[in-house]
């Protein structure tokens, strides 16, 4: 009995092995998960992210797929809605990694979802790239988690070096909201970086969310004779601060951070904002050919200008494809290692490099307000 079964087992094993060789050659597919905020409080973020993802995946597949090793693979996109809730983002991540067995996951976008989902990626030993989460905690101390955007810490360094290089500023002043984590974080990194770059922070003044009178702080700043004023604050407060600075004769250049980038800044600030600059992820009128092509295709397909989330999601796929090609095999560990050692990737949102951590070293763009519009000014690096 025993011996008579043997041939069958051998045949069956042979068949399975053969299928294992043949099937991937036929299907040749890599599953990638997309964990995004399609419903909940920021559905436009999820939608833009999905738009960017679909555009990226279709372009890859139309070009014949990704060449990994000697094999070409097409990408199958599995889209899941995380409802902009931390627990759903975690559930979606578990489903994608453990049930659907995706090779890697793109998303979530908001830090409140990306930080808990990152823990799932760590426990699954599978790569995750968040396009838009800037909170340092998303990638901090993690092996498997990457992001396509810069961090809040990074932005503080970029602004400092831009102030030193472009404005030749020697003495800088900062006014920031001490009650808000984002503003405080950037302000402190700016102070360290500006000092490290040989400048001097001569005034470091605070206020509290909701304040409208900044005259006493600004007068103090003026008395410290700075060459530049940094306002890493939200768009609803910046116009008041700029106006009051001018009112007391503080006529130095003023720069800001990505919290300026809302249309409300232009409406509230009017002509007071003319000529001022701030750093952000991406500018729709950016000059690089890569970005121009992306914007043109996006506009043809969706009929609107891509925002920073769409551009960053597109770049997240670009990074993943680059890593796959470099890894040479569709294997989670190999892809992770390849991602972590990407030396140069030219994306829509600038050039990126990963050096050990999940945070890219990349350029930020500087936007200048010109004729009441946000205009690309230059690309800045720390």
């Amino acid at each position: 009995m025993r011996s008579s079964r043997m041939p069958w087992i051998v045949v069956a094993l042979g068949l399975v092995l053969a299928l294992g060789w043949v099937l991937p050659a036929l299907a040749a597919e890599i599953a990638i998960g997309l964990n995004v905020e399609l419903t909940g409080s920021i559905p436009q973020v999820g939608q833009s992210s999905l738009n960017g993802a679909r555009l990226a995946v279709d372009e890859i597949n139309q070009a014949g797929g990704v060449k990994v090793g000697n094999q070409r693979y097409t990408i199958r996109l599995l889209v899941e809605d995380n409802e902009d809730k931390a627990q759903s983002a975690v559930a979606v991540a578990q489903k994608l990694y453990f049930q659907n067995g995706v090779l890697a996951m793109i998303g979530p976008n908001a830090s409140r979802n990306a930080v808990p989902a990152a823990d799932v990626a760590e426990s699954a030993h599978a790569p995750m790239i968040t396009p838009w989460s800037t909170n340092p905690n998303a990638t901090k101390g993690k092996q498997w988690v990457f992001r396509a955007c810069f961090t809040d810490d990074f932005q503080g360094q970029v602004v400092a070096s831009f102030a030193r290089q472009h404005f030749k500023a020697q003495r800088a002043a900062v006014l920031y909201d001490v009650a808000s984590e984002y503003n405080k974080g950037i302000a402190e990194v700016f102070r360290q970086s500006f000092t490290r770059l040989g400048g001097q922070v001569v005034a470091f003044e605070t206020y509290t969310t909701g304040d409208k009178d900044f005259l006493s702080q600004l007068t103090k700043i003026r008395a410290a004779r700075p060459d530049i004023l940094f306002l890493p604050n939200y768009y609803s407060e910046v116009p008041l601060q700029v106006q009051q600075a001018r009112q007391i004769g503080l006529n130095v250049p003023i720069i800001g951070s990505d919290s300026w980038g809302f249309a409300g800044l232009l409406e509230l600030g009017g002509s007071d904002m003319e000529g001022l600059m701030y750093t952000t992820h991406y500018a729709p009128d950016i000059a690089t050919p890569t970005a121009q092509t992306f914007i043109k295709r996006y506009q043809e397909r969706y009929g609107s200008l891509p925002d920073d989330v769409a551009a960053l999601t597109y770049d997240a796929f670009g990074l993943l494809v680059t890593a796959l090609e470099k890894a040479g095999k569709p294997d989670r560990q190999a892809v992770r290692d390849a991602l972590a050692s990407i030396e140069r990737y030219d994306g829509v949102t600038g050039t990126m490099q990963f050096a050990g951590s999940g945070d890219p070293i990349k350029s930020a763009v500087v936007i200048q307000i010109k004729n009441g519009q946000f205009k690309y000014f230059t690309t800045a690096t720390p």
């Binding site: 006493s216 008395a223 009017g270």
Partner: protein
Amino acid sequence: MAFYIAQQIVNALQLGSVYALIALGYSMVYGVLRLINFAHGDIFMVGAFLGFFAAAVLRWPFVATLLFSMVATAALGVTIERLAYRPLRDAPRVSAVITALGIGLFLEHFTLATVGAQPRQIPRMIPMHFYTLPGDIGFSSTQAVILAVALVLMLALDLFVNRTLMGMAMRAISWDIRHLPLMGVPVNRVISLTFAIGSALAAAGGILVGLAYPIIDPYMGILVGWKAFVAAVVGGIGSIRGAMLGGYILAATEVLVAAFLPSTYRDFVAFSLLLLLLVFKPTGLMGRVWAQKV
């Protein structure tokens, strides 16, 4: 250094004018009704939004905007008193205070629902000029207008309260509301007038804030309301001149703390000093002692 202090005093005068105008409303209402009208900061906010309507939508000039907002807000104050406070005049005082908090929340959320949460900008109603005094002290045309309007309004109020029959009636109510009708004083009319004047002054404060800090939102009344309340208490709540003094003192303390200490300490030091003052003078700087006969 002298320049620096002088410049900070200019800043304090601007901020103090706003605090003083709003503190007056707290003080007057407390004077006649013994009621801390916690909705007052939100009445100030409504005044600012009415000013926004007149200046941005109807494109009225400054004086018309100011008068319109003061009159409309006065009507609002009288209506609130008639509908919300008068029925509670004989109820325990805590009921009236809770009602005042409720009215404040109502005004905030009504504005939020009708106008929206996004901040609005009041257009520049006064051409912007900068003047420089000897010693490089700078001040703007808006600062000059704010100070002038506030001083004129406060002077007019002081004259009204101390030199007219209605003013005398107001002062009389603050002494004894229960027996005053026996003297033939129309108590309800005097109380309505008090609310009208207090609210109109808050609206003037709102317009001046619109000149100085032209971005307004439905929650702008909360912080300013608290500070004006503190100013009224420091000056001696119930006292007109005390409220004015309190407003300028609070602003000067805040500005000078921010000027010479890290600005994070501003509210902490300013309010500690004020608390300390109240320990030694519980009725405020110009408050009178309420003796009760037994």
